[in-house]
């Protein structure tokens, strides 16, 4: 009766665990609509965008002078995307078009999109404030700009390759659009550069917004149902959910029981329904204390504190191998030690 409700939560927890582990790698590859990889990629492109802000500004200028119409025609779909976010900026729009032509043939949507962001961050302020200065420099920067663009494009291509292994470019675009709408970055209104702390904050904000599962899973703790202890008669204690706890710890009940008896200096037996009958009077907290020591000694990994360990026996020596960090070490054998003569000597056959 009482075993089942206690056992169920642990089952659920285990299920959750496996889901959480499998979700990330699977989601990145199989499901393009998963938000998590999208935002992560997005932030990496942001990192790129930080360096390339001024460069795009150069490009912006170029764009204004030169072939506006051609690019408007070419990147009509691009403009639709932009208009969602910031309509008033006509200059950058065209500029982003101009900056792409080198990159466009190589890596279509991804590159366009990263340029979108450049436009939003770098383009907005620079275009407004330093317009004239840029026009002066334009002739020099034309040459430079072309050269400089080669470098970021190389980076972009690498990035695109990496990303295309993992996920769909469209997913990336969607995620980026969503994150751009945040719009609360403190650097947007001013001319200054972003600080590392701000970008880091932004990254974590987006990461947790995209997959809230990360927030809850980090606080996961190793929990075990408290032992259910009842008194049988005057001199015996019943430990009811010993099998559940052993399952939870992934340890054979014999091993746990042997340890408990050795540690508490008593004996006992397992009754028909899987309960442990201990000789002597014990309270719940005493048994819990013993179990705690068992977990420290035989369940948690000494190296990484993870409870995902396996206990194997080789040549009469128990070895504990950790599932998460791979460490392997021998554990102390359970020894009963000296048992003093308790009770009547006449009952003891050997003594």
């Amino acid at each position: 009766m009482s075993e089942e409700p206690l056992f169920d939560p642990s089952l659920k927890k285990r299920k959750k665990k496996t889901v959480a582990f499998s979700e990330d790698p699977l989601g990145a590859e199989a499901d393009p609509t998963t938000p998590a990889p999208a935002t992560i990629d997005d932030t990496t492109t942001n990192g790129e965008a930080v360096d390339m802000g001024p460069k795009t500004a150069h490009e912006l200028m170029k764009g204004n002078e030169g072939a506006e119409d051609d690019f408007k025609a070419m990147f009509g779909d691009l403009k639709k995307k932009k208009k969602k976010k910031d309509i008033p900026m006509d200059l950058p729009e065209d500029a982003s078009g101009t900056s792409t032509p080198v990159a466009a043939p190589a890596a279509g949507d991804d590159l366009d999109f990263s340029d979108l962001k450049k436009k939003k961050k770098g383009g907005k302020k620079k275009a407004a404030l330093d317009m004239e200065a840029f026009e002066k420099e334009l002739n020099q920067s034309k040459v430079k700009g072309d050269e400089e663009e080669e470098v970021p494009d190389g980076k972009h291509l690498e990035e695109v390759d990496e990303n295309e292994l993992g996920d769909d470019p469209f997913a990336r675009g969607e995620g980026g659009a969503a994150s751009l709408d945040v719009g609360s970055e403190p650097w947007l209104g001013s001319d200054r550069d972003y600080t590392y702390a701000e970008l880091l904050h932004r990254f974590y904000g987006q990461l947790h917004a995209a997959n809230p599962a990360l927030l809850t899973s980090t606080g996961k703790r190793y929990t075990i149902a408290p032992p259910q202890v009842a008194r049988e008669g005057n001199k015996k204690t019943i430990f009811a959910n010993v099998s559940d706890i052993c399952k939870r710890m992934h340890r054979p009940p014999e091993h746990v029981i042997q340890f408990m008896f050795a540690e508490m200096g008593t004996t006992g037996s397992v009754d028909g329904s899987g309960r442990l009958v201990i000789k002597g009077r014990f309270q719940q907290k005493q048994i819990e204390h013993v179990l705690r020591r068992y977990i420290v000694e035989y369940v948690t990994c000494k190296t990484c504190k993870s409870p995902d360990t396996l206990l194997t026996k080789e040549n009469r020596i128990f070895f504990m191998s950790c599932e998460s960090c791979g460490s392997r070490r021998s554990v102390n054998p359970i020894k009963t030690g000296f048992q003093a003569q308790v009770g009547k000597r006449s009952k003891n056959k050997t003594g």
Binding site: A262, E263, M264, G265, T266, G280, R281, F282, Q286, I287, H289, V290, I317, N332, P333, K335, G337, F338, Q339, A340, V342, G343
Partner: protein, 113 residues
């Protein structure tokens, strides 16, 4: 003049002979175990096992009895050697006593609930 790096150094010099001890291989021979056993009612018994040879168990028992105000006895066990047995739960007191006398706390293992 002696070059320190060229000296031969036995890393196990201070370990002693691991097989020289009377106990079998693989057991933790250096630990002092303090255990508790339940008797009838709320009475308990504390046992101290694995006392190093350099300590006189008889004198230690006398000191324990005086310090903790309890009775006790010295039991000769085939496996465990000399075991000090005290009335009542004296585990923490024994542990503190031994630490104050200069025994490293790492070698003392307190068992029980």
């Amino acid at each position: 003049m002696s070059v320190q790096n060229l000296n031969t150094f036995d890393p196990f010099a201070d370990e002693g002979d691991p097989l020289g001890a009377t106990q079998d291989v693989g057991s933790q021979q250096n630990y002092i175990h303090i255990r508790i056993q339940q008797r009838n009612g709320r009475k308990t018994l504390t046992t101290l096992q694995g006392l190093p040879k350099e300590y006189d168990a008889k004198k230690l028992l006398k000191a324990f009895k005086k310090e903790f105000a309890c009775n006790g006895t010295l039991v000769d066990d085939e496996e465990a050697g000399k075991v000090i047995q005290l009335q009542g739960d004296q585990r923490l007191k024994i542990s503190n006593f031994l630490v104050e006398e200069g025994i490293s706390k790492a070698t003392i293992k307190v068992h029980g609930f």
